[in-house]
Amino acid sequence: MSLIEPVVGRSRSRRGVAAGMRAAGRTPDVALLVLMIAITALAVATLPGFRTATNAYELLDGSAVIAVLALAETVVMLTRQIDLSVGAIMGLVAYTVGSTVGRLGGGPLNPVVGFAFAIALGGALGLVNGFLVERLRMPAIIATLATLSIYSGMQVVVTGGSQLYAYQVPHWLAGLYSDQWGPVPVFTVIAAVLVLLLAVALHRTRWGRDLYAIGSNPDAAAAAGLPTRRRTYETFVLCGALSGVAGLLYVAQYGNVDASAGSGIELTAIAAAVIGGVSLFGGSGTALGAALGTLLLSELETLLALERISIFAQQTLQGAAIVISVAIYAYLGRLGRRRRMAAPRRVAAPAADETSPPAALPAAGTGPGGDRWT
């Protein structure tokens, strides 16, 4: 694409991307929010068990760990990468930090040390991913598949056949899950703060805008002079760090951490992000979207559980939800693209815009000499 569209200049392409990003980023959120409110209203109206405030807090608390992991995946997915090792990082950090933090003698400083340790360890594990993807130029799927294997294996080695027990978890950590600050549970506050921080970072800083640019069009972003290599490292490190925090939250929530903790959870995190509008192709999605996606997923689960629909149906519905939401977002994206192409706003097409004349060909299998499944 950079061969066809001239790179007009650094500021113009960035402005184009940023503006386009804001537009694309807003629509799924509104739709999601509306959907969530609708489902919640429906649930409250029809199910007696759903109405209580405690139930709402349980929902929020219960989804906090996955929400943080979904945030981690969002960061990576925005740049058109993926990280399959977040669950393994979470588990490894959960056990390592959870078992050592109980032996610290620091008193009131323990929480700070604990979180710092989790962030540092998670970040280091994420750095390995970044190195593999950026330096060794491995595709992210392969790299994180490999680190997933390695980290989960390390988790087994580190636990050495035993596990972390709930009684070993220090009070302050377990208290994160059980305590409340005034009317709001601490857990929810932590998750909400992280969502807010990430949202600000993504939408209000150059760093965040770079991520969207890189995800929309990596070549144009590199040609425009964005520090793509550094950003790749940073996204994987951040993803790892967030997974580390999720690990600490996991210990707070479950207490018991064994060798298989976190196994399989990366798929739930990706699902939550995808449902929340984060595109696997990069370039669109928001932190708030990921959080809403997580909540929607949890709400669906709770709804189904309350309706006594078997847990087994839930998995099917979750799977269907992913496919449906991906289809919807793809359709919305295509609508948006067609609308933008119908009314061009600039004379010199910015290189970083996702639309371009060759992309005008409808994607599904037609074109000169193309075929259809008939």
Binding site: M138, P139, F281, I322, V326
Partner: protein, 338 residues
């Protein structure tokens, strides 16, 4: 042609397989025994079918992570039919058809709706597992007829060669012919290299991609038949631990994650490498998860060495194509991710 290029990766891999075998045999006297090798072969069958099945999909530029779920669901359906009096072989054939249908669903969703295969198969993975649980709940069906068990765990006549290995080799050969000697196979590689150009060249892109998914589904069903025969139990959650090894084997085998290159032979050799590694380390006492560290490291080393090799050769050398394709118009065409 491209034969020289392919052969270099596979040659290195074969050398690795042989070297690994020798090392394992040296490190542990129990390794080179008939019993260990037979267990190795029997265990490798399910992963082998899965890997050979998903390889065409990845070669075509897509991916399918629902393969383990398809295996489980096909097994569940066959088993349930059998408990209702259907002959086990008829039930197995039905299972094969179910596999084709599941693969078709994947293919239609990805290709016709133009959705990212990773997301779609992530969803179908959950959906298929869910359906399996809906059918069977959390229980299991066991004690299949001796004929099926013999297929999965038995040997050819009085030889020490497992039946499943022979079938695996046969299927591998079939698929190798399909991918490397037919127009279909060549179309798959073309589509994987450059979907847009293939479309403009008049290749049957849509049909080919969907066919690849269907083949993947059928082979997952084949895997399920041998799974039932070997493990003698059908559950909704079966084979879930085989997804990672299968993908690892395919990628290790030289198939590029971006599509367009790789050989079935390479996948088979990679299967041997991973099996020898796992079996050897297992005999030495490593647990299942510790093995996964080794496999992960192996994957990194393999990919890194191919990158390093290309760098040494000034970028013209062999090995799986790892650089992302030049950015084409639109995310559906140029994405190095799925």
């Amino acid at each position: 042609m491209d034969l020289t290029r392919w052969l270099r990766w596979e040659t290195g891999l074969t050398a690795l397989a042989v070297a690994m075998f020798i090392v394992m045999a040296r490190l542990s006297p129990d390794f080179a025994t008939t019993f260990t090798l037979q267990s190795l072969a029997l265990n490798a069958a399910v992963i082998g079918f899965l890997a050979i099945g998903v390889a065409p999909v990845i070669m075509g530029g897509d991916i399918d992570i629902s393969i383990a779920a398809m295996t489980a669901l096909c097994g569940v359906i066959s088993a349930v039919l059998w408990t209702h009096g259907v002959n086990i072989w008829v039930a197995s054939v039905v299972g094969l058809m179910v596999g084709a249908v599941l693969g078709l669903v994947n293919g239609l969703s990805v290709v016709l709706l133009d959705l990212p295969p990773l997301a779609v198969t992530l969803g179908t993975m959950g959906a298929y597992t869910g359906v399996g649980f809906l059918i069977l709940g959390g229980s299991a069906i066991s004690n299949f007829p001796a004929s099926l068990v013999n297929l999965g765990s038995g040997f050819i006549g009085v030889t020490p060669i497992p039946i499943s290995s022979v079938v695996l080799i046969g299927v591998t050969a079939l698929l190798a012919i399909l991918m490397h000697r037919t127009t279909f196979g060549r179309t798959v590689f073309a589509v994987g290299s450059n979907r847009q150009a293939s479309r403009f060249s008049g290749l049957a892109v849509v049909r080919t991609r969907i066919m690849a998914f269907v083949i993947c589904g059928v082979l997952a069903a084949v895997a399920s038949i041998f799974y039932l025969g070997y493990f003698n139990t059908a559950q909704a959650g079966s084979a879930s631990e085989d997804l990672l090894p299968a993908i690892t084997v395919v990628l290790l085998g030289g198939v590029s994650a971006y599509g367009g290159t790789g050989t079935i032979l390479g996948v088979f050799v990679a299967l041997v490498v991973v099996s020898v590694l796992e079996s050897g380390l297992g005999v030495m006492g490593l647990s299942g998860q510790e093995l996964s560290i080794a496999v992960g490291i192996l994957l990194i080393v393999a990919v890194a060495s191919s990158v390093g090799g290309r760098w040494l050769r000034g970028r013209e050398g062999s090995g799986p194509e790892l650089a992302p394709p030049p950015a084409g118009p639109g995310p559906a065409e140029s994405s190095p991710q799925r």
